[in-house]
Symmetry: C2
Subunit: 160 residues, 2 copies
Amino acid sequence: MDVFEQDCQFMRMAIEEAKKAETIGEVPIGAVIVKDGNVIAKGYNLRETSQNAVTHAELSAIQDACKALGSWRLEETTLYVTLEPCPMCAGAILQSRIPRVVYGARDPKGGCVDSLYRLLNDPRFNHECEVAEGVLSDECGQMLSTFFRNLRLKKKQERQ
Amino acid sequence: MDVFEQDCQFMRMAIEEAKKAETIGEVPIGAVIVKDGNVIAKGYNLRETSQNAVTHAELSAIQDACKALGSWRLEETTLYVTLEPCPMCAGAILQSRIPRVVYGARDPKGGCVDSLYRLLNDPRFNHECEVAEGVLSDECGQMLSTFFRNLRLKKKQERQ
């Protein structure tokens, strides 16, 4: 299996996480962290359910991975996430020294890996990441646009 | 009591948090979150003790404040922190919609409020913050430089 096929395989697992979020009415974003070909941590967006501002998919997965490895340094890992990370999650990726990040859809409004900033590739920080984008991006993006379209429809119906 | 005096009073409490970190060998950084003149959450850096990359002072305080208010929106709060926030913590401040941030010392190597980026004042994000810097900055900065000086001395002695 080549790198792209492997990336697609793990992105599918991140999409499965995103779907868990969708099932409970959360914005569908999911993440998994992989080391030596094994998933060591998963996470999905839980902001509304938890009423905790930091419970993004990536942050939950990063904390689980630290627990799994018993270390704040997530060396030799890859993080897969369905949406381009926000500043908080990009910062958490730097803090945990994750060497490789693969994301699905771009977030033109808040993404801090390519869209608004390139926080994972700034030599002034004490860590830089290899980044691959666009893995299953249509599927990842579609999931979000469908979610928001349904939300708008629901709100419209409630107003009528 | 004017705003500056009040800011100094709460920054002293953030310094007390930082000292708790120092006591257990952690880099001394502390934070408190205030609403209506009352401290609703506190936090200090626990990265080595917890072996969790995201346990910065601000992130712990933000999570505690969400719990205290039962909401991910920390409206009408002020966050006091002894050191200029990193990208992760600046991002968490945006995510939790904290309207005002007061910090002590600048972090020229990693600060994302004034030094390397101005993440809290970017109109492209869905939130912006009022920022006050330099409150008790000498004391906040001194605490850090003393900590790192002692750490270098200790390492030097261990090598001899």
